[in-house]
Each structure stands twice: as C-alpha cells, then as structure tokens.
Symmetry: D2
Subunit: 428 residues, 4 copies
C-alpha cells in the first residue's frame, strides 16, 4: 500500500526519462563541487552541517538502501561499512553513525567517495536498462525520491560550505561571482486575497512528497501579502531602530537566543569602516540594499514583522497566493548562489519562487489525514513534524526542477545558515 | 485601546463581586500551603519550577505592578527590592531577577511573604472600597486578570511541590489523600463529529485571556474522539509492548529525548516488587489501572497514539467537542489532587474538564487577527507563541472557576511535571 | 593496625575530657546557627556548598557511622534513610545521596535535624558513660576525629552561608558585626630562613590527621617570607595596575578562568560610587585597606605574587616558619567572622594563624610513606590528593582548638568562597 | 638576562651544525606525514588534538615569530593572516586563533602549508648562511628551541593521528607495522636507592628547557623502583580483579572520571571474541601481554599502583634512577610507533627511555629559583605549572635527540591519548 503511495506520486515511470534525470542530477552534484580543494570536502563545522564528501556519499547510500538492495538479490555494496557510515537518520535501516561525528572521518577519501558514486551509478543505470515493467513500477518512484533527495543535499552542500568558509579568517570564496548593482528596491505593495475555504496540498498532478498530502480544505480569513521580499535596506532600518535590543519585539524564545548568541545582525554580516558587509559564496562584499535579506532565523523575521506592524504569512496563505504562478526565479541553475533584487516597476506578486526560502508562521504539522510512506522511507519527513517551522518557495540554492507550490521545507526557528528570508502578511 | 480590550473581557465590573472573588482566591492560595513546613517553601528543584514562597509573593507583585502602582499616585511597595525579586518575565516593567536563581533567596522569609500578601490585600481592598466608577472600569478587569493569574500559580504551586517532594528519598506526602479503588476502565468508545466551518475562540460572553481571541472560523474535516482519557492500564500495555524502545513510534525529537533522559515510564513511576508504583501528592501508591495516565510529555502521548493507530486531537477539534458541556469534573476544589477513573457505563464524552490537561497536536499559535494586550500585560501570553503545544480542559489541580472551553494552556513538548494526559482522535 | 594509627593520635583518651570537648563542640555548632531563620538552613547555592541543616546532620551521621554503629550491637539510627541522605562521600559505607542534590531536601525539617542531633548526643554521652577501657581505646580517637570533623563543618557552614547571603539582592547580614577602623597597614618586611634539611609533618605530640604524617625530612633552599599577609590596599594596586587584564601575569588555567568567569576583583567585591565595597558576614561594607585580602583563588594569589616579583611559599617553608609560634590569632571564637589588620609597629612574623587561610604553591600530595587510615575513614583525606593546593594556618572561621602548624587544608585552585588569602615568599 | 639563559643552553652555536640539525628535523616532519592522504591533514578530532597541517604550519610560525621577524628588519610572512592562524597560545605575540577552531580551516591547503614550510626553510637557511657571530649568539639558541619544539609536535602529530584514526569505524592503519611476538614479560624486580640530598635538574652540559632549571638540592627518603614498566598482562589482571569498579582504589577525581567517561580499559582497547584488542598505528591488533601498557591516565596508573600495594615514583626519584643511563631505547627513529616488551633475562633497570612516557606522582611545579625565559618564549613552559603531572623518559613517538634525563613532560591527569604508561615505586 505504501508502494502504491509512492507509485502514485509519479504516474507511468519511464526508464529513459529516469535515466536522463538521474544522470543529470548526479552530474550536477559533481559540477557543484568542482571548484573545491580536497580539504574542503572533509570538515563538519557544526553538528547541523555535514562534510561535502559525506553528502556526496549519503545520497548514493540512499539509492543503494532503498533501490539496489531491494531490487537486486545479493546486492553487494562497495564497502560493508558504508551502510553504517552514510546513513543519516533512518533508524529502521539500522543504527546510523552519530551525526556529530561525520567530521571525524578522513577516510574514505574524496576520490573513494567519487568511486562509490560511480559504483552506484553503474548499478542504477544497469537496473534501469534491465528492469521489467513491474520493477519499474515499484522502484521508479523510489529512484525519483532519490533524485529529489540528492537535489536537497545539493542545496545543503552549498549552505554547509558557505558556513564553513565563513568560519575561516581567510574567507575564501567558493567561486568568483557577479554581483547585482547596488540599488534600493521599489516601495512595498500589498496584494489582497479573499476569505474562503481553499484546497491546500498536492493534487497529485505534479511530483509530491508525502508531507504535501492529502489535499484538504482550509478556511482562510481575508489577508494581504507584500508583493516582494523584505530587503537588506529595510532590515538595516530595523537594526538601526535598535530592533535587536527591544525585548517587546521578540518572542520569548527569540529574545533568549538573541541574547545568548549575541545576535546583532543576520548571519555573515559584519561592519567594516562603518558599512555593513557580508560573506557571500563569492567572498566578502558590501551589503546590497535592494536584495532580499537572508540568513535570518524565524525569530528575526518574526521580530521584524512585529516592528513593521505586520506578521509572517501562514503556509496556507502562501500556497493560495502561489496558485497559478510559474516556477520561475533565481534558482541554483542561474549560478548566482545569492539572492538578487526584485524586478522594478512591477507591482504584481514577485519573488515567490527562488532567491530565498520564505519563513511562514506555520508550525510544521501533518496535514489532516497525513500518512507517511511505509517503512524507513516514512522517516524522510514525518518524524520531524514537531517544533519546526515551514518555509516555502525555494532559494537561489534550490533546483528549479525540485520546487513546487506545495513544497514544504522546514527548519528549527533558530536556523540561519540556509538561504532563509521572508515577506510580510497582514490581516484586512 | 488595550484597556478597552481588557474591559470588554469583564462587562460591568462590580466592586463587591470583585472583593469577594479576590478574597476567596487569595485565601485559597493560603489554604493550599497550609500543610507545608517552612522548609518546603524555599526550594527551586529545577529551573522550570519555583519555590512556593516565590509563587505566593509573585502573584502579589502582579497586583502591585498592574493595579496599585497605577491606581495610587505615590504607591510604595513594602520593600523597594520586591519589584525586582518577584517579577517573573515582564521585561517592560524592568529587568527581572534571573529565573534560575529563585531558589537562592532564603529571605524574605515565609512570614515576611505572608506579611507582603496582607499588605497588598489591604491596598487592593482599600482600592475597591474607594474606587470611582471610572477607576473600576479601568482596573477592575486587571484585578480579574490578577485573580486568574493567581489561580494559575495555585496549580503551579501544587505541581512544583509534587516535583520537589518526589526528589526527596523520604517521599513525604503533601497531605493524606483518599485513593480511588483499583479497577479497570470500561472499553474505549469513539464519538463522531461532522466536517464543517466552525467558530473557534472566545465569544466574549465569559472571561477570556487575549490568546483565546478573536473568535474566528476554521474548517474541520470529519473526526472522532475517544470518549474518555487514556488510562494507566492502557499505557502499561504500551510500555510492555516495548513502546519506549521502538524508534518508529516516535517523533525525531521525542526519540532523542527518550534516550537522553532514559525515560521508560511516565514521570514519578517506578517498579517495586514487580508492580508499577508512583509518587502522588498523597505519597507513594500502587498505580491504579483505571485512572487517566498523567505526567507525560507530548512525545509520549504522540508515540502512544501512533502505536494505537490514532493521533492526538487538534485544539479546534477539542473545542468543538467541548461545546455545550458543563465545566464539571475533578478540579482542585475536590481536594483529590489526583486524577480519578472515568464514570462506568456511560458512553458519552467524559473527562473533558478536570482530571488532566489534554495534549493536543496543535502548536501554540496566535489566532488569525490576534492582538496582545497593550504594554507589559501583553507579555502574559503572546510572547510564548512558539515551539509550545496546546493543552485543553484543566486538571485536578485547576480551579473550576478558572477553566473554560476556549482556555489554551501551553507547554514545551518535553514537559512532564504538570498533570498532563491525553485522549485519542482519528480521521474518518 | 589502622585503629592503632588512630589511637596513637590521641594518647590516653579520657572519657571526662572527651565528654566535655564533645559537648562544647556540638553546642558551638548550634550557637553558630542561632541567628538564622529556618529558611536559611535549606538552600544549596552551588554544588560545592551545602545547606546548613545538611551540615548539622552530616556531622552527626559521622559519629553514628564510625562510632555508634560499631560500638553498639544493634544500634538503630533515628531514621533508616539518614545514613543515605547524610553521607557525604564515604563510598565504603554505602552509596551516598548525590552531592548536587542536597538542596532538594526540604525534609527532614530543621527541627527534625535538631532532634537527630540530640538523639546522637544522647547515645555518644551514654557510650562515654559506660565504655570499657578497651572501648575507649578503640573509639575515643574516632570520637575525637568526629569532633575535628564537626569543627571543619562549622567553618564550612559560615562560608557556605556567606556565599548564600551574598547571592541575595537583599544582602542580609549573618549578624551585626563590629568592623576594624579603616587604616593602611605598615610596610611589608621580609623574614629570612636558612637552607637545610628540615623535619616536616606532625610529630605526634599534638592531634593529627593522617595526611600530616609521617614526619619526614625535606631539603629547603634559603628563602624569605613576608612578615604579614597581603592587604586589600595592596591588592587594589594590582587591580588598578590592570592586573586582571595582563595575560603574562597568569597561569594558563588562571587566565582561562579569569576570562570565562569575568573576574575583575576578589569574590564579593563590587564598586559603589567609585569605591570598592564587599559583602561581609556583617553585611555590605566599604573595603578596609589595612585588612588581609581574602576570597581569592590560587590563580589570583599567584598572579599577584608574579606581579610583585615574588612567589607563594611552599607548604614546607610555611611550616618551618611557623615552628614555635603560638596558635594565637583571629579565630572563630573571636566572633569577628572577618579578617582584621595586622598589628602595627611589629616587624616579626605576624598573622600566621587565623584571619585567612594562606595559599601555598604546593600541590596537595601524600608525604613520603603516607598511609591513610584503614577503611572508610581513610577516605577522609587521602583520596583528594590530586589537583588541589595546600592552604595553611586557619582563618577567622576556624576554631583555635582545631588548628596546628602541621595542618594541611586543601582546595582546588579556583576556590574563592573560603576565607583564603596569602603572604609572599621569595628566593634569596 | 633571559637571553643569556637561552644562550647558555647551547654553548657556541655553530651555523653548520644548526643547518644540519634544522634540515634533518624539518625533513623528518615531512617524512612522518608521507603515508597520509590529503584528507587526513585536516581534522581536529577533539579540542586537545590538532590537525596535522596545523602542526606543520605552527612549527614554522614559531621560527618566523621568534627568529625571522626579529632577525630580519621588514620580514614579511607568506601570508599576513598566518601569524594569527598558526599561533598556538603565545598571548604576548598577539591574540591567537581559538584552539577549538583549528579544525574549521580547510584553507590554507596542505600544499600551501608545504609551500609555507619551504618559504620559512629558505629564510632560516639564508639567515644561517649570512648571520654574524653576534646574530648567531642571539638567535642560534632560539632556532634550537624551535628544533626541539618541532620535535615535540612530531610526537603530537603521531598521537593526534592515532586518536583520529581510532574514531573512524574503518580503523585505517597509519602504516603497515611489524609487531612484537606475543609473550609474557619476566617477573618484576625491585631496584633500591639510598636516602640522601640529591642534585636535581639540568646541569647545563646538555640542552635544556627553562623548566629543568635551576639545578637544586632535594632530600629523598630511601626508595625502590620496578626494573621495568607495567605490562598489558599485569594491567589485564587489574581489570579482571574488577579494578575499574572498586572505588577504594581510586582518587576522588579519578573515580568521578572513570564513571563519567565509562572507562573500563585503557584507551583504544576493546574486546573482540572474548580477547582484548587495541587500535595501534599499524591497525587493530590483539593485545600483546608482554608489552608495556600504554594510553592510560594518571588516575589509572595511580589506581593500579594502589591495588599493587605500591605507588608511582616522584620525578626526583626517577631522575636519580636515570643518572648515568644511556639515552637508548625504542624511540620514533625505530619506526615501531608502538612500545615493545622489555629485554628478558636482565634484572637491571630497563625501559627508562623510550617506549612510553612514565607518569610520576609529581605535580608539575617550578623548581626552586625557576625563572621563565623572558618575553613570549617564557610562555612555552612556565604558565602550565598548575594542575598537571610530570611524565619522564620519552616514548616510541619521541625523538632520541629530543629526550634527556632531566626532561619534564606534563599532562593533565586525565590525558590518555599520549603514549603514557608507568612503572612502580615503593618505600623501604
């Protein structure tokens, strides 16, 4: 029945299409790490980040565990210990190596990890070349989960690397990158939406994770959304209005965190000669006023909204607003690896996809009637439905073919190392 | 405008009624601590609990800060430092003494705290005797907030004391207490509710906190609730089915907590000669199978529900189900200080009020259009709307005059020292 | 053989003398706590301090465990759990209640602890009234250890209470106390000592703990000692010379501690209207320049000495210098509970006994040939011979009848809550 | 005067000899890391270990800071930030990069670090080629300190690598290594030494660190030393006698550590199929009964000694015993990287040099009259003279040209990752 669930998510799996997509995604991971030195693949800077080589291996383990070991009788992995080392958190497949210890593994080396990737690639392609229709029905959808899973880790590789490089006094750039011209954004406009019972969740016409289902009804009071993301210039106003020092703007938990961590600006920001600068994947730059602000916690987004006499959107509001919009924007394919300013002279809803993930005020919860995938794959999303908050829309580090309007990303409210930003909402 | 908000919550404040209620509630606090030794008033066992004498003083500080200092020009407190020592978390009234240090204060003594209470009582009663109609309009509602506030702390005094006594190898009882006869509960039945757009939140006909407002609409899919709370016997089945050791039953955060804290049963439970016992406010007893299970975290309630192929209710579902039910049950006035078994031979919805607070699966969030009270009183509820979960219905330590169907209690998902339990819900 | 050891330490135990001394010491404990409120007996402010009532009970447990339970067949304690609750760290007598949890015990109450003391007193006096010569030979010396043990805890009660009261924003005094007139000390003079092989350790003519034995030989290079203790005025010079901010003056461990703890002055010191004040057992006072500085860690004493181009004495040097000096000075019997300035116009060695414990540069180690007492009594001193430093001479909180020239007190180098101070030494 | 101290330590520095020795030592560092993969150079497994590439760079920084920057006017380092990144703990040369963050630096890369080494080598050799006699007098001794400093870090590179590899489930060997044949050691014999006033400390005829001086007199009571180190077989007896579970054998601090860390055997030991195995630099092997036991804390050595009715030697006793012995044994030059069994049929004092560092019972303290080198070089040894314990004799990871009989190594008593072992002493 679970297999049915998975199958439904991708009607008519087609071996050729799968091979193409599999190959493209796997190659893209390798293209992303092309600028790195061997040393850059090894380090786990903090517990919630992982070494690049771990990411590259873990995504391979995923295909092994959920496809190859089931599709081939007597499948043998490249190394008997990889299943232990490269499992992330799937308890039903066996006790994983401790998350906090991923940075202790100088071996396998980077080149061994690349060999491991090749080993898995060969097997997957071999499977797709020889699979019966029934096998394709069963494992095609799981390969597609693996593809999306790898795309998620591509984003994590970039954000984890950014975090790592930012810790280094040498501030090495990931790549030389172009920057948008320094320019203020247009004024913020508000877009209105009517009250009503809306359908929320994935209809099943496009790819879906289990957590986007089932489609269900939700009553929304009328609301308004800002037509674009909040910018660096606007956030500097908040800083200069002493926003980080005024307890009445903050959630209790946020206030405790701000003081404990001594936050005074978004992550990666610092002042140099009186001006705000930040570390970007292109190195240290002067903060661009017109760009969407990013690398913020939920607490900071929420405090800004309170200061601005507004609030964050709910995820349902965001999804209603996203209805009908094309999945276009500043994605990882663009190669900017950094958010860019909104179009000028355009008062319609902008920047809904790409640039930065948008914090919503919605706690990450199961939809009414939610059922996780059966077995270990059900651990993918379901067991995290507690104490985290939903983000929507993808970022400049997300693949365009990975995102959709019903996609639910989630992080703890103190998470800042992702490309997280926000837009405002308000009641009517 | 906020004052208006407050005022609305208690139409026509009436000095006589307020005096009566004020006096009754203040006396009840003192009656509750009557069995204690002086030593019992002093200790803060862990950061999230407070010494009894701190509770007794803090609730007095509340009336001073929000009523007396504003209503009387040149009001002088009994001691210039009490405003610092007995503030809990209201940052807009001045930096409070650190929460973790409440147990370091051997002075003021218990008898000084009682004098302080008398001092405040005299002033409040003097105010009520002499207040103009306009003053009554302004401060009557605030006194009533103070009354409810004191009732909340009465519950905390009991749960904090229970926690403290349970740490003591001597396991002193709070009072000698009667116990319910040991007996299994009737089978669980399910009560059905229809889908629809429901009105949720306080209508304003009864007392309300700001977080119960505004009344708003919510669409609910059809659902069922268990007719009674889950019992100790049922929870023992879960334990014996190895529930605490099966990762697939737990939220990720819950699993981490269970392992870190080595939880193997509800708080206060231990095995003696092969049988489950627990510490109760009446001392150590053998666990009664028919009683509602209590002293559970959200994680444990959630894991049980998953094991039982069900889920926890949402707070909206609970509120819809509570519609029209009388606020009757096993409250603190009963003097049991412990949950009791559900009525037998009754398949209607039982135990909705009293006995134990019921965990819901709803994150504690602002209702659409929520506005906190203005000024420091707005810190009462609003700033905690993050990462906590809603509980409904009151417990055996709650005052009957404090609870209502729209009342939203909230705790972090790992909180076990309150009288927390749960009932099940399921989709249709 | 161990019993022999103990016996030797007090030749010819005499029942009358023992009763007198026992009674005097036990009464003195009770006199010391006479100014306290019940609430003051309960709190454990930090792990290394204990509640007053715990001290009062623990010293009684000591007599029970090491005398009564062995001397009387079928001895019954007042309560079967006291042996668990009031054991400090004697692992050979059974697992003790966790040190960090002494502040969680509101029961037994203070008055129950006083009853417990009476219960033990009666039994000890009954024993001394009826003991045979042989019993007296065996247990007389152990009672005398118990007496000294209680005297140690008398000092700890005072220092733990001082620490507790100092945490309280109300800064309650322990007693009203006289203060020495504010006046600078005479200039520091140096007293010279010759090189040679000296005998160090207790000769056995006076009472001894096991750690003062055996008497042994030690070669000392020539050295000089300052004739008095370092004063507050001198230490203020160090502070004003930026002593707490100059890394080159500090041991590596000390520097880490200073920065982590943000130490900028001795414990209990703070500036008020530009002048240094401190909390004393008589309440908050202006710092007296001529008094010995106290409440310092080893690190601070060591840094001061380095700044002053000197060093701390070794414990052997101190003991050689103390040879022949009477055990006179500012002890607890004086009732000052605070160090006092040295005599003026006197260039001989002063303040060797009383006032403040003097940090030596000697790690607390066994003397050559050291043998701990047998059994659990051997845990009294021996197992702490690691990572701690020796202090000599007693303080204003020490009993005159407790101290002697060979007495070795010891604390971790970061300990500040004892009456610790220092004098200087230098090479010739 | 301090400069004089340094100069004295190497009479008549000779440019040719210095070049030879400098070159040999620098090359040996590079030879040691020859078997490593690039990934192995990067990781800091715990705070007290460092990445290999950090070691390689830091030792270069040492020559830069203490020689090149002073000897050459306008010296320019290869990179302006290296002085910050590669300083370890010398506060007088500027704030160092935080120790705990050495593992966050993927850049400079390994090959950049090798370039940096070359850069420094060229400058040092250029200096030695062109230095005046006076310059040689001034900086020759400092270069020699740098050489010894690099030798120390060679040992740390090996022990830090061993620690790192041992964390890896793949247990990669550092090199393929020969192992000694499995064989029990000969019985332990005792060697006697007379009482007397001995001269301790470096006479100045061989190289010396400041902490070995001044030479001074010390009285020793008569004592005996075991003729060889304690072996694995002997330590297994202790384990099997439940040594890790018997509180009476342990120092208080040791007992706390054993329980907190759950130590049940030396570091790197584990049981496989009923037999003790350990991770060695040659990979996982079966424990060899006749080898000296190693990777033990002071606590474990001390507990074993107490169990064996003996004690650890003092450092003075060890030094007296070492008098006249040649500096021969199993050093790093041997290429075993592991201790080896003592010679058979030889009852003289064995294994005093090489194999394992020997824990002494002596706290690491300044000798009477000790003066640290002036300036930042004085931080090399002096500021650590607190809470650490002295080890003597060098290990299988120490250079033969680095060790001498007066050499004082020191570690905290819980340190296990060095090649630490022990021999026994006893009183006569």
């Amino acid at each position: 029945m679970a297999a049915k669930n998975v199958k439904d998510s991708l009607a008519k799996p087609d071996a050729e299409h799968l091979k193409e997509r599999y190959t493209a995604i796997r190659s893209f991971s390798e293209a992303l790490v092309e600028p790195l030195e061997t040393e850059d693949f090894v380090i786990q800077a903090v517990e919630h980040t992982s070494p690049t080589k771990w990411h590259l291996a873990h995504v391979s383990w995923f295909y092994e565990t959920f496809v190859l070991e089931k599709a081939f009788s007597n499948y043998e992995s490249m190394h008997p210990q990889y299943a232990y080392i490269f499992n992330s958190y799937y308890l039903q497949t066996g006790e994983p190596h401790q998350r906090s210890k991923r940075g202790l593994l100088s071996r396998p080396t980077v080149s061994e990890v690349f060999e491991y990737r090749k080993y898995v690639n060969n097997k997957i392609l071999q499977f797709l070349d020889t699979a019966s229709e029934q096998q394709l029905q069963e494992f095609g959808p799981v390969i597609e989960i693996g593809n999306h899973h790898e795309q998620q880790h591509q984003e994590l590789m970039l954000t984890d690397l950014k975090f790592l490089f930012a810790q280094n006094p040498l501030k090495p750039p990931y790549r030389e990158l172009e920057t948008s011209p320094q320019k203020e954004a247009d004024d913020l406009n508000w877009i209105s939406f009517e009250e009503g019972v809306y359908h929320i969740g994935n209809e099943g016409k496009e790819y879906t994770y289990d957590n986007e289902q089932p489609r269900h009804r939700k009553f929304l009071e009328p609301f308004e959304l800002s037509d674009r993301l909040i910018t660096n210039a606007e956030f500097i106003d908040f800083i200069e209005a002493d926003g980080y020092r005024r307890s009445e703007l903050w959630l209790d938990e946020g206030w405790a965190t701000v003081n404990e961590e001594e936050w005074r600006a978004p992550l990666y920001w610092f002042k140099k000669e009186g001006a705000w600068h930040y570390y970007t994947l292109g190195g240290v730059k002067k903060v661009n006023p017109g760009e969407p602000v990013t690398h913020l916690s939920y607490y900071e987004a929420d405090a800004y909204a309170r200061w601005a006499d507004a609030r964050l959107p709910t995820e349902a509001e965001w999804e209603v607003a996203a209805e009908g919009l094309p999945y276009e924007g500043n994605f990882v394919e663009q190669g900017l690896y950094h958010p860019r300013p909104a179009r000028s002279n355009d008062t319609t809803l902008k920047q809904m996809f790409g640039d930065v993930w948008e914090w919503t005020m919605s706690s990450y919860e199961p939809y009414p009637g939610y059922e996780p995938l059966p077995g270990a794959l059900g651990e993918y999303n379901g067991k995290f439905m507690c104490s985290q908050y939903v983000l929507r829309g993808g970022s400049c580090a997300t693949s365009q073919t990975h995102i959709r309007k019903t996609y639910r990303n989630f992080f703890y409210p103190d998470a800042r190392w992702q490309f997280n930003g926000f837009r405002l909402a308000r009641n009517v």
